[in-house]
């Protein structure tokens, strides 16, 4: 999944890196696919070369060799900047068919069965970035009809919903999981299956999804190569901290 995510980054992209799997996706992208991409963190580290895998967005490893070391005010200014097409890598505990994410709680907000970390910069990125790429583990309990708490807005309830809510731009373009890659229909803004990973069938993906998903357009994704795996294991995460 880290490889699939890393492949989405091109040289010249300006990437807002969230926490969790995003950290390894960004490091993979920087070391393997797009060394000229610009990775920045909400904590204020702008264009970090990522010499070692960071374990949090405030890791000292995001402060080294940057263009500037600033703080949250500057980062959020860049995140929403009118002249930059920022791409945000986000994760979540739950996602619905419009790419709305929940990272706040499972169950009732005022008495949750599981309290999660909360928005952090996730909601900010979902509202202000030009584009969002989501990483999730693909499980029925995660891909739900309705999220228990809407932390980070995707397409909300369909086309025009974001504009009506007052946002200038943004919205998710893809969801990368351990089973496949999903994208959002141009017209309806609903998720559909774009790629299934080798060894995974579209039917398996439907079974792992808690709502009906269009699997008719899915093709097999390019397999992970030996070289990609080697780079991941030896250079990106040799201590196996995230993978």
């Amino acid at each position: 999944m880290a490889i699939m995510a890393g492949r989405m980054v091109k040289n010249g992209d300006v990437i807002f890196c969230g926490t969790g799997l995003s950290l390894i996706a960004a490091t993979v992208a920087k070391k393997i696919y797009a060394p000229e991409s610009i990775i920045f963190f909400e904590t204020g580290g702008i264009d970090t070369p990522l010499p070692e895998l960071p374990l949090s967005v405030a890791d000292l490893r995001v402060m080294y060799g940057t263009s500037i070391n600033a703080g949250l005010l500057e980062s959020f200014s860049i995140l929403g900047h009118k002249k930059i097409h920022t791409k945000a890598f986000l994760g979540g505990a739950q996602i619905d068919r419009f790419g709305n994410l929940n990272s706040t709680c499972i169950g009732d907000y005022w008495h949750p069965s599981v309290r999660l970390s909360g928005s952090g910069g996730g909601c900010d990125a979902a509202c202000l970035a030009a584009e969002v790429i989501i990483f999730m583990q693909h499980e029925r309990r995660r891909f739900v009809e309705k999220v228990d708490y809407l932390t980070s807005p995707g397409w909300l309830s369909g086309p025009e919903a974001r504009r009506k809510a007052g946002m200038y731009r943004g919205g998710p373009s893809a969801v990368v999981t351990n089973l496949g890659v999903m994208r959002f229909d141009e017209k309806t803004k609903e998720i559909y299956l774009s790629e299934h990973h080798p060894g995974v069938t579209p039917q398996q993906i439907q079974e792992s999804t808690g709502f009906e998903i269009d699997i008719s357009r899915a093709v097999e994704s390019k397999p992970v190569t030996e070289e990609e795996l080697r780079l991941l294991r030896e250079e990106v995460d040799p201590q196996k901290l995230i993978i």
Binding site: T19, L23, E42, T43, G44, G45, P51, E52, P54, L55, S56, V57, A58, D59, L60, R61, M63, Y64, N69, A70, G71, L72, L73, F76, G80, T104, C105, Y109, W110, H111, P112, S113, V114, R115, L116, S117, G118, S119, G120, G121, G122, C123, D124, A126, C127, L128, Y149, L150, T151, S152, P153, L156, R162, A165, G166, M167, Q239, K240, L241, I242
Partner: protein, 325 residues
Amino acid sequence: MSKGGCKMAKILTLQEAVTTFIKDGSHIAIGGFCTARNPMALTYEIIRQGKKNLHLYVHSHGQAFDLLIGAGSVKRVELAYGGMGRFASTCVRFRKAIQNVDIEWEDYTNYEMTLRFFAGSLGIPFMVTKTSLGSDVLTKEGFRPETRKEYKVVRKKLAVMNSPFSDEGDKVVLVPAINADVAVIHAQYVGEEGTVRIEGLKFTDVEIAKCADKLVVTCERIVPEPYLRQNPDINCLPFFLVDAIVEVPYGAHPTSCFNSYDYDAQHLNMYRRMAEDDGNFNQYLSEWVYGVSSHNEYVARVGIERLLEIKANPAFGFRPGLKRG
């Protein structure tokens, strides 16, 4: 002593700083971010002195925040995020406290909390933003209406309006200022008069420092003012805003302090495991908080081996190759 009519910052011990500036029910704004530069030495002392019913303001926290909540010192928290990166995707005692409804909480986003601190530091009632539109952060409130009548609790979580400068309708979110009683931050260096120098990312520490009535800065080293004034471009707070300075080397341990030491990954992993169980968590408090009567005793307990292991390499600001699994 005073300069230009301002009272000068006092160099205090940890004990004096907490006795003087932290009271039961204090509204405290805490600097640092998750795994980085939390004012831990001060936090341990706050717990040791048995301060209660605290109202905390943080954006993304943190070891200090989780420990205060776990120790039972906290009544309410306003936050954007409770996590410790790969060391704990959700802060353990925070998670339990909310699931048990032991404390009150209010969820904002990182940008919103940052802007709230900023508004407080500017002396204005609110700041404005386009973040959180369409989300439940905007529409769901954690605090009960009765809570909003309490001392210093903001009367409203957020407000939405149309920008008065637009004809077509341009929705904006207003976020209320934070005006804490006291702000606590940990910096690398503070001058003898109080000028503050933070190295690495500042997060929102400068705005946090300025949003409160009083500011306590703990630091790795107190240095002569003239040394800091040779390079004022990299200083971030003028001396006359600081009320108390405490010198506590390794005062952010087990969180990191850029150029000084990396996070103590081993300690953070141990904490997470122990925090899962109430009994083990109390044992952690006994060993690392109540069982040490001074910061020096704490550092001695951490031990020279660990300190050497996490000591930063000046070429990087962190410890390359640190074993972190």
